[in-house]
């Protein structure tokens, strides 16, 4: 057993000391932040301002089109063909042609552009025309806009979990976010570190070190040492990321002071200087939102989420890591590994695809079965845990998970012990089955 310890420590140290590990660990949190914020940032900033020419033969839409940051509208008093020429000359990005239309049956609105217009812009233009026609129709039917607006109400439903501990404000948004993030982390970790396992085995095999080492340790020890050592690397990276993220946030807080407090006082001062009586309501709303958020998080059993995350991360990784190691032992190069990768990764991909369905019904039949099957459980169960899973389901899933990874490790080690010493054989599933059945 001390040999497994030796192998684990070598696998662990050799990876943790690598430059790529240090760099990934340092920039990982920033990359994650970028992955989350960049799309939002890009989506909100939008592109250049578009200028749209409008030929309105009906004369009804003069007030409907108001310039904003993204689009500038210009009404032209020319006929359709001259307008088209202008587009060809590229004086405008697009031409909206509105014929003298019948409000009962509005037909014939066209958009001319040198390229395909974006979906959001078309939607925007459509909304504006529809809104204006609606206004006209309202007026014709004698209904006032204000009356209609008054009819609309907005309701917030507070969700409350009833349990023996009493009532707790719950939040499906918070649970979804936590579920999504942890599922996704597990998915990525299994992939990244599973592939590392595989590559490590291939390296040992192609560099022929295996023959040297195999006479002093059992193949099983070698495989488990590698799998566990890499699990340690994954955990280390994960913990460092958490510590780093908190560290970065804390450091920023210390340097700039609490930004929210600053803003609050600023707002207060502004409001006071303007002597607006709304001051109180603003503060109230703010407090309300804050307390809602904290209450929502309270309903999620954070320690349970953390423990489940660690459990499913480790067991899922062990389950897949062993299989990846077996693949590595069977092939002679990364390229050969592709054909065996697919069937192993399919359950993982299925579980990631099913996440949105799980999110719709976290305690449904699909969710239940997928979180019982060890191959999909790590990803799927982590989606469900923040929503609250019946205790027996969680325990059963964990027991099956343990049985699952013991099983795959057993299968993998039988393939591994033969594969690791085979060179230049053309390997297909039949060969793998033969190796599996072979006695030592």
């Amino acid at each position: 057993m001390d040999k497994i310890g030796l192998i684990i420590s070598r696998e662990y140290l050799s990876r943790v000391q690598k430059k790529s590990f240090v760099i990934m660990t340092l920039i990982g949190p920033f990359l994650f932040a970028a992955m989350i914020f960049l799309p939002t940032y890009l989506a909100t900033t939008g592109g250049d301002t578009k200028s749209i020419a409008i030929i309105d033969e009906s004369g009804k839409f003069a007030e409907a089109f108001v310039n904003n940051e993204d689009t500038k509208f210009e009404f032209l008093d020319v006929d359709q063909d001259t307008g088209k020429e202008l587009i060809k000359n590229e004086s405008f990005d697009g031409l909206l042609y509105i014929p003298d239309l019948d409000t009962q049956d509005p037909q014939g609105v066209s958009f001319y552009g040198s390229s395909n217009p974006s979906l959001s812009m078309m939607g925007n233009l459509r909304d504006k025309i529809e809104g204006e026609i609606e206004n006209i129709k309202l007026k014709q039917s004698g209904i006032d806009r204000e009356v209609l607006d008054n009819l609309k109400v907005k309701i917030d439903i507070n969700t409350i979990n009833l349990s023996s501990d009493g009532e707790k404000q719950s939040s499906s948004i918070g649970a979804s976010a936590i579920g999504y993030i942890s599922s996704f982390m597990i998915y990525i970790f299994i992939f990244v570190y599973g592939a590392q396992c595989m590559r490590g085995v291939i390296e040992e095999k192609t560099s022929r070190i295996i023959e040297v080492v195999i006479s002093s340790v059992r193949p099983f020890q070698l495989m488990m040492g590698k799998v566990i050592g890499i699990a340690g690397v994954g955990l280390t990276q994960f913990l460092l990321w958490i510590i780093l993220s908190f560290g970065v946030v804390a450091a920023l807080g210390a340097v700039f002071g609490s930004p929210s407090a600053d803003i609050k006082t600023q707002q207060k001062e502004q409001l006071e200087s303007m002597n607006v009586p709304q001051d109180e309501t603003m503060a109230e709303i703010e407090q309300d939102v804050m307390s809602k958020a904290t209450k929502a998080l309270e309903s999620i059993d954070i320690p349970l989420v953390v423990v489940s995350f660690l459990f499913f991360f480790l067991s899922g990784y062990l389950l897949y890591g062993a299989l990846f190691a077996a693949i590595g032992s069977a092939v002679d190069s990364d390229a050969d590994a592709q054909q065996f990768m697919l069937p192993v990764t399919i359950p993982l991909i299925i579980s990631i695809i099913s996440l949105s369905a799980i999110l719709n019904d976290p305690n449904g039949t699909l969710a239940f079965w997928l979180s019982m099957i060890p191959f999909t459980a790590p990803v799927v169960m982590m989606m469900r845990v923040p929503f609250g899973v019946p205790g027996w389901e969680l325990v059963l899933s964990m027991v099956l998970m343990i049985a699952g990874f013991i099983f795959t490790i057993w299968v993998a080690s039988r393939i591994y012990r033969i594969g690791i010493l085979m060179h230049g054989t053309k390997v297909d599933y039949k060969t793998l089955a033969k190796w599996f059945m072979m006695k030592n």
Binding site: S14, R208, E211, V212, K439
Partner: protein
Amino acid sequence: MELLKVENISKAYAEHQALTDVSLSIPKGSIFGLLGPNGAGKTTLIRIITQIIEPDKGIVSLGGSQMTTELVRKIGYLPEERGLYKKMKVGEQLIYLAQLKGLSKSEAKARIKPWLERLDLTLWSDKKVEDLSKGMAQKVQFIATVVHQPELIILDEPFSGFDPVNADLIKDEILRLREEGTTVIFSTHRMESVEELCDHIALINKSKKVLDGPKLQIKEEHKDGTFLVTHEGQLDPAAYYEIISQKTTETGLTETMVKDYTDGGPNNLLKELLGKVEIHGFMEHIPSVNDIFISNVTNQNNG
């Protein structure tokens, strides 16, 4: 006294018989040459001895007790297909491999140091293996094989990848280890090193052992009564000898290979020859291991 005993080992892979009822006895302190053409089953036999694979049948025992995983630590195995962790430093790697063999870290360090000095590698201890030349990596590998002071060393093609200078260096180390009482099994195709180093040989062909014993005895058994005669003048054929080959040397003398058909041994043949030609040299032809190897393998393959 035998150190390693292999009894009636058989091993079959799916459609292929790798070893058939092979028995060997390897005397303590000997250098034992395990010979055979490619695919004869040598590597399988070595893997069985080192417990990497299990035989279908038969027993391996080391020093009188049946081989176990623990006993394998007393063996140092240098496989033919060998390698090292490329990204690891030489020193660290040797310590790691020695630890896998059961040495403590400090013990490993203490034993590795003199080896590095002896093989001129001290300066390379902190370099990564990928920075080493092939020959240097081979030397590191050799150290890894012997550093835990095994009772038995198994070397599979140990000289491949070495230049003559380093090959000699390793040869000297092997002989020195033998002096210290280590037993060596030597698997190779290079017959000149077998000739030079081995005192026992065994020949495996087509999964079966065809030859086994002390080298000199085997050579003795394979003597076929041919003599190399260096002479002046023309040697004509006669009934009591057969001329196998003939060539002229630089000095103008003739070298004739004769097979002796007289009954009384070399002296009788010499007497017959004395009257015919002027004899400058007379030497019994002793078959080389190479000759024995080739004749046995081709005989068996044809038969």
